[in-house]
């Protein structure tokens, strides 16, 4: 940024002299910018990118050890680091109902927290399991909302993990005439869909 400004200002000056004079202010500017950016990075996108990098190292080594082929994609969505492992034969890492995936996400968050000192909300997906589950849950939310509106009776969904409940709450929140709550204790916490009065 400052690099593009300075040459403009001094464009008419003799190049030999200005080059020397420019060096210092340019460097000072660069330093000032660096610290500003670092501050921003620690509070926003940069930290999330770093979370992704740490998670990728942790998971890549795991794939190496178990000798599974997988590519790791990193992204930042809705203020979270998103780490996706994509590969053809990764079902073992997903587990029944995604239980192994949840466990791996938990450990990966701890590994990130260990390095950054901050609690991580990182989201791990493997072989699009979460993406598929999200679509299924959105469909479930829509059909449940329709029956609640038709029957004028609340509906209670099966117990779900926090990720699944959030998907349902978000989907119900976008539908007029219904609202949702959670009830019960983990691991039996479930979503209740009600008429919105």
């Amino acid at each position: 940024m400052s690099e593009s400004e300075n040459p403009d200002i001094t464009a008419d000056d003799a190049p030999a002299d200005t080059a020397v004079e420019l060096d210092e202010p340019a460097e000072l500017d660069a330093d000032a910018n660096d610290t500003d950016e670092d501050d921003n990075e620690d509070t926003s996108g940069g930290l999330l990118v770093r979370e992704g990098d740490i998670a990728a190292d942790y998971l890549e080594r795991l794939l190496d050890i178990v000798d599974y082929d997988g590519d790791i994609d990193l992204d930042v969505e809705n203020d979270r680091a998103v780490v996706a492992i994509v590969g053809s034969d990764l079902l073992a890492l997903v587990g029944a109902d995604g239980s192994t995936l949840e466990a791996l996400q938990e450990l990966t968050r701890l590994a990130v927290q260990q390095k950054t000192g901050n609690r991580s909300r990182l989201m791990l997906d493997i072989s699009n399991f979460r993406a598929q589950r999200r679509t299924d849950l959105q469909d479930l939310a829509a059909s449940t909302a329709a029956s609640v509106l038709a029957d004028k009776e609340p509906a209670r969904l099966a117990p779900m993990n926090p990720f699944e409940r959030k998907v349902v709450h978000d989907a119900i929140g976008a539908i007029a005439g219904v609202r949702s709550e959670s009830e019960g204790e983990e691991p039996n916490r479930r979503v209740l869909v009600l008429l919105d009065d």
Binding site: I65, L93, T100, E102, A103, E106, L107, Q114
Partner: protein
Amino acid sequence: MLEEVLEHLVRGIVDNPDDVQVEYVDNRRGQRLEVRVHPDDLGRVIGRNGRTAKALRTVISGVGGSGVRVDVIDVDRVGSDHGDRGDRGPRR
């Protein structure tokens, strides 16, 4: 392979990765992986309500270790003859 997986998973979440030891034991009581960590890291590996230990067990089962127990060994207690057990409080 399972030892290596467990060692890697644990090393990444503790303050003292070089103190992590994993041993595979197979005897008449069955197969198990014994994890030893620095005493300060014990809470990390067990987690609130045993959550982290449970996550470690789940992943180990997932990658081929179903039926293999994962035991977190409290190095401070096992084989220590100090009479200071009373002030540690109950184990989780």
